[in-house]
Amino acid sequence: MIQKKMINCKQSTEWVIKKEYKMLSVKENLQLLSHMAICSVCRLFQKQNSLINKALHKSQSHKIFQLTPEEKILLLHSVQNKIN
């Protein structure tokens, strides 16, 4: 019943991302799995993709950007000018 149609790497990488939303149909899921079974490069992409997602999520807790004291003074002055 299920038509066996192989998907390519472009499609498979797009579906890896769509899968994060659980937006694949049963058929698409099977097609993705059968592509992954034969394509080591896309398997690597999938693995690295989930690592990137973890990193993106974690990156919020790393405070890396700050204003200098001078920039804070400038900010104070320009806010004051605009409210007067």
């Binding site: 490069v41 992409f45 790393h62 890396i64 804070k72 900010l75 104070l76």
Partner: protein, 190 residues
């Protein structure tokens, strides 16, 4: 609040919150002047609307909600500047299989790098290389975890364009991380 000296009130806000707020904004707009502008707009709006602040509520939460509105306004304005949809031919050949240059390579000590500050600096740098629509879509999805429907509405995108953009962002970001973080210097030839 309105009968207080504006200098004192605003100075106190800046002292207490500007670091957190600026970091939050910078990670979302990837542009220092833009982040500074939004921060400034936030404090101005907060001062003008200080009558809406209820004593029993939390000052930081209140300011933060104003800041988020200002950020959405910024996204809406930016969305009007249309950019062309990306072309994926660098990543995939005519049969839509990986090209040799773009195919993922093994990453060394990939999991361990999640705990290193250096990795996050590379990640931030790689994000600045995305174009502005890509950056917005990407931030709204992966940092703020908004639903695709909401993102498409704010940025006036069709669903199919949304997926094209997200897909391309991931390919590009992955490639950039690989080049700048995970490959040995000896393997770099550019």
């Amino acid at each position: 609040m309105i009968d207080q000296d504006p200098h004192q009130v605003i100075n106190a806000w800046i002292e207490k919150y500007s670091d957190t707020f600026f970091d939050y904004l910078y990670k979302r707009v990837f542009d220092k002047p833009a982040a500074q502008d939004i921060l400034q707009e936030t404090f101005i709006a907060a001062w003008k609307n200080s009558s809406t602040f209820k004593k029993e509520s939390n000052e930081k939460t209140w300011l933060f909600s104003i800041l988020k509105n200002k950020l959405m306004d910024h996204y809406r304005m930016q969305a009007k500047l249309k950019t062309d949809l990306p072309d994926n031919s660098y990543f995939f050949d005519d049969d839509d299989h990986w090209t040799n240059t773009a195919a993922p390579k093994q990453w060394e000590e990939a999991t361990a790098s999640l705990n290193k500050k250096e990795f996050y600096l590379v990640l931030a740098k790689c994000k600045t290389k995305l174009n502005h629509v890509q950056q917005m879509v990407f931030t709204m999805k992966y940092i703020d975890e908004h639903e695709p429907k909401f993102i498409c509405k704010v940025l006036q995108l069709t669903t199919s364009n949304y997926w094209v953009i997200i897909h391309r962002c991931k390919l590009q970001l992955r490639q950039c991380l690989e080049k700048n973080r995970f490959l040995n210097d000896t393997k770099k030839n550019d």
